[in-house]
Amino acid sequence: MNWSGFLAMGGYAAYVWPSFGLTLIVLIHNVWAARRLHESARNEALRRIDSAGSGS
């Protein structure tokens, strides 16, 4: 395979690569955001459990 030809995308590089790049960013972002959401919900719940357990 010819790399420079592949990257040029028959003259459409300026449209093809940004659309694939943006898609990858959105795919990765949504996984990361979901994990962070679960993590923060978990941490908040653990804090509540701790403060309830310590008799407040």
Binding site: T23, V31, A34, A41, A45, I49
Partner: protein, 244 residues
């Protein structure tokens, strides 16, 4: 009747565990399908006879558009179930799905714009397909904003559900817009009746991407649902044992 499995599934502690176990079973096949689909779409598929290499945007645009509609259907059906049968977990599904759907509606519009510029000579045109997809994005944003604006959770669930159900009329409008109105947007690549309008070399990477995106949504939804369940059950005793 053996409805016990359903009630068991809908019980928060049970669901929390199941969702955690299911997420990787969605996530890894999704990852593999997307990697294979990207390779097939970018490298193996031949260039289009009209659009040259530019047609490859199809492989990210169509799956995004598909997912934006699939997520909305999931969200509206879940919200409807929550409204009719008063199942809190169903409302949790709707709430967890919305932000993901909004991202993919945005992605469908953005990648469509990047496809439209070289092919049609414009980033945007107010035609039926593009406008109805933009309305889909606004419906997601409206659903999220409406829920966020109501403090009491049950009222937020119900109000959101009504909006989600009303908005479902937009889905057939998006789907049939290319047939009902004159449009710049091309027709479906995959038709349910009759043969697809592309060769198998071009078709399989598209199917891999669409299936991969759908499974990807399953994985993300499971993780978001776990967060949603914790928030709704913050004072329940089972959380103590589960999280400690």
């Amino acid at each position: 009747m053996t409805w016990t499995w359903f009630h068991k599934l809908a019980s928060p502690p049970h669901f929390y565990r199941i969702a955690g176990r299911l997420a990787p079973w969605f996530g890894w096949p999704a990852f593999l399908l997307i990697v294979v689909g990207l390779y097939g779409g970018l490298v193996l598929a031949p260039a289009d006879y009209q659009q040259g290499e530019g047609f490859r945007i199809l492989y990210v645009h169509a799956p995004s558009a598909w997912l934006s509609m699939f997520v909305y259907a999931t969200m509206a059906i879940a919200a409807g179930i929550g409204l009719v049968w008063r199942i809190k977990l169903a409302h949790a599904v709707a709430a967890a799905a919305a932000p993901v759907g909004a991202w993919f509606a945005f992605l469908a519009l953005a990648t469509g714009s990047m496809w439209g510029k070289p092919m049609w000579g414009t980033w945007w045109v107010w035609d039926a397909r593009l406008t109805s997809e933009l309305i889909l994005l606004f419906l997601y944003m409206g659903f999220i904003a409406l829920r966020a604006s109501i403090d009491e959770r049950e009222r937020a669930d119900r109000a959101g559900a009504v909006l989600a159900l009303v908005g479902i009329v937009n889905l057939p409008i998006i789907h049939y817009s290319v047939y009902w109105w004159n449009t710049l947007h091309q027709g479906s690549t995959i038709t349910k009746i009759g043969k697809p309008s592309i060769t198998f070399d071009m078709l399989w990477p598209l199917l891999a991407m669409m299936f991969g995106f759908t499974l990807y949504f399953g994985a993300v939804l499971m993780t978001r649902l776990r967060a949603e369940v914790i928030r709704r059950e913050r004072d329940a005793s089972w959380l103590r044992g589960e999280l400690a």
